[in-house]
């Protein structure tokens, strides 16, 4: 499991507005890649193109191609639903399904899709996914309680468990810790370290320390001004980005001299 991602000349539009322009990037399997940059620079927008979630917004579309192990997810006849099965996503705010129990939340990808699962298979999957999300010990005695009754950090880990339960190749995370306290953040960061062993992880974050802590490679996005499209300014090893970036804009941003 885990696939290589390659974006070629990706332009992302909201209607006629060009939001992100000319992104070329190669993301290796079993790595953690962080996207950093100021608000509105298009890092989340670009992230959402990797599992075709961008086009859920009315009028939004993408030009260019994104390859998952040489298969273009924007190729003709590609079903976005299948792409999303391969590329899971964790959102900024924890969003467990409020009508479902913890167990049903983990199984949501199967149950809602109408796939039948034996009782013992389902139990195994729930335990495996929750263990994979470092949540099993905290919730194993209350799997039938509502998922919305957990704390924010636990809810976010429940969402991660729900995502890994459907066995994706890639996991995208859109500022997964921005709504969490430092302890929950640490739990998620530890989890990202572990997820890297099996999945390709791409994370958007506003927290540069977090990017430095968890990621192997870092991409810096920036915009020239309001209304202008965002660009991928620099993409390199995390260590290099934070110690010796080759671009002036990146240096200004990571050293805090940015506007």
């Amino acid at each position: 499991m885990s696939k290589r991602i390659e974006a070629k000349d990706v332009n992302v539009y909201y209607g006629s507005f060009l939001a992100v322009e000319g992104v070329n990037i190669e993301i290796e399997p079993r790595t953690v890649t962080a996207f950093i940059g100021p608000s509105g620079c298009g890092k989340t927008t670009f992230l959402r193109t990797i599992n075709r979630m961008h086009e859920v917004i009315p009028g939004a579309y993408v030009k260019g191609s994104i390859l998952l192990d040489n298969d273009d997810i924007y190729g003709a006849g590609v079903d976005p639903v299948n792409v999303r099965g391969l590329v899971g996503m964790v959102f900024q705010r924890p969003n467990p399904f409020p009508t479902m129990s913890i167990r049903d939340n983990v199984l949501a990808g199967y149950k809602i899709n109408g796939k039948r699962l034996g009782k013992s298979d389902a139990d195994d999957l729930v335990e495996k996914s929750l263990t994979g999300a470092n949540l099993w010990n905290e919730v194993k005695d209350r799997l039938d309680r509502p998922g919305s009754g957990l704390s924010g950090g636990q809810q976010q880990r429940l969402c991660i468990a729900r995502t890994i339960a459907v066995h994706p190749e890639v996991i995208l995370m859109d500022e997964p810790c921005s709504a969490l306290d430092p302890i929950s953040t640490l739990a998620i960061e530890d989890l990202i370290e572990e997820l890297k062993e099996q999945y390709t992880v791409v994370i958007v974050t506003h927290n540069m320390q977090q990017a430095a802590r968890v990621s192997d490679r870092t991409g810096f996005f920036n915009i020239a001004g309001t209304g202008k499209p965002g660009h991928l300014i620099e993409y390199d090893d995390t260590e290099k980005i934070f110690s010796n970036p080759s671009n002036k804009q990146t240096e200004d941003y990571v050293s805090g001299r940015f506007g």
Partner: protein, 386 residues
């Protein structure tokens, strides 16, 4: 009236508000009740001199209370508190005034209709075979009240059930399309406009529409003669659907719109198809609101009289068949018993039956509301357990 400079030392005294610099210059807690009591007494004295009337007593007392309490607060606590006293008293009075008709209706219907409703046989017999002979016997010779409402109850339930079966899928699917699929194009705006227009259709027009449609249908089937076959429960259900659908659409639409987009995206991100997302994530999240919307729609149509009169006619015996024969419903039953008593010369038994049926109608609506609440509580998002 004490000023802040001269305050009694604050000593704890069981239950009473402590006198200290923060509570100085306030009315004692019994001031409101004293004002109410004083107003009632004063109003009674004035009216005993001027001529007694119960309504006058209450109204005068309310006015006196409003004046006395406001002025008292104004003098003791200042202008801001005085205004507050005036407006909060007005709000409370408005609330009480709004309660008057509600309580009055419920009280009247229960006290007048109650004895009839619990009369043996009233809920189990129809008006089949009941003529003026029995009613005259009831009125003049003290015989027990004959006849009942079972046929009207059956008709009301069957017709409303059928109307619900027709309108809920149509209304639900329409609102799903409006919220999930239409992105504010001209077509969806037209639909919304038409639904709004439909909300305002007078019910008799809906009845005529359904009667006309079914008459045309039977004429077309029988070579130009409808033969009165269109008068049946189903035609009435059709008329009620015309009234129900817009209510269901608007209520459901509002509920679907407030489902957070995050939940839809969470579902899409798991590789779940859109229609499964709608039916397994969006609707369950909104189900409690949808249920109460549907119940409101049912409650609106279950009391309709005119459209049923012109579509299902009237009947005196039980008819379970929606597709054949005339049917009675509770509102039409009430109307008929009052306007055309079974024994025109001795209308009292008919009037009693009408009140009993009215009480039954209210009970049906209340049971529907209760049912909706139970369903909503059963399905609504579970938030407990934190």
């Amino acid at each position: 009236m004490s000023t802040a400079t001269e305050v009694e030392p604050s000593t704890p005294q069981g239950g009473r508000v402590l006198k200290n610099s923060l509570t100085a210059g306030q009315l004692p807690s019994w001031a409101r009740w004293a004002s109410i009591g004083g107003s009632l007494v004063l109003s009674a004295i004035i009216l005993l001199i001027a001529g007694w009337s119960w309504a006058g007593w209450i109204v005068l007392a309310a006015v006196l209370y409003l004046i006395s309490y406001t002025v008292w607060t104004y003098v003791v606590e200042g202008a801001r508190h005085g205004q507050d006293a005036l407006w909060s008293s007005l709000v409370w009075l408005a609330f009480l005034v709004a309660l008057v008709p509600l309580v009055s209706i419920i009280w009247t219907v229960i006290s007048v209709g109650g004895p009839t409703l619990v009369h043996p046989g009233f809920l189990t017999s129809s008006m089949d075979g009941i003529t003026g002979v029995q009613d005259r016997a009831t009125m003049n010779e003290g015989a027990p009240l004959a006849g009942g409402i079972v046929h009207a109850l059956v008709g009301s339930l069957m017709i409303t059930l059928m109307a619900t079966i027709i309108s809920v899928p149509i209304g639900l699917l329409t609102s799903i399309w409006l919220v999930e699929y239409a992105h504010g194009g001209w077509f969806s705006r037209t639909i919304v406009f038409l639904v709004d227009v439909m909300t305002g259709i007078p019910s008799i027009v809906a009845g005529l529409f359904a009667a006309g449609i079914m008459m045309t249908f039977f004429e077309w089937g029988n070579g130009g003669v409808s033969g009165g076959q269109q008068i049946m429960g189903f035609t009435a259900a059709l008329a009620l659907s015309v009234l129900m659908i817009p209510v269901v659409v608007r209520a459901t639409e509002e509920m679907l719109r407030v489902v957070p987009n995050e939940l839809r995206e969470a579902s899409y991100a798991l590789g779940i198809r859109k229609w499964r997302t709608i039916f397994r994530v969006v609707i369950p999240t909104a189900i409690s609101g949808i249920t109460s919307g549907v119940t409101l729609a049912i409650a609106r149509v279950v009391g309709e009289t005119a459209p049923i009169l012109v579509t299902a006619g009237v009947a005196s015996s039980v008819n379970w068949n929606l597709f054949n024969g005339w049917m009675m419903t509770l509102p039409v039953y009430i109307y008929r018993q009052l306007m055309e008593p079974t024994a025109p010369a001795s209308p009292d038994p008919s009037t009693a039956r009408a009140w009993g049926a009215a009480l039954m109608l209210i009970i049906v609506v209340m049971l529907l509301n209760l049912l909706a609440r139970l369903i909503a509580a059963r399905f609504s998002p579970k938030t407990s357990g934190r």
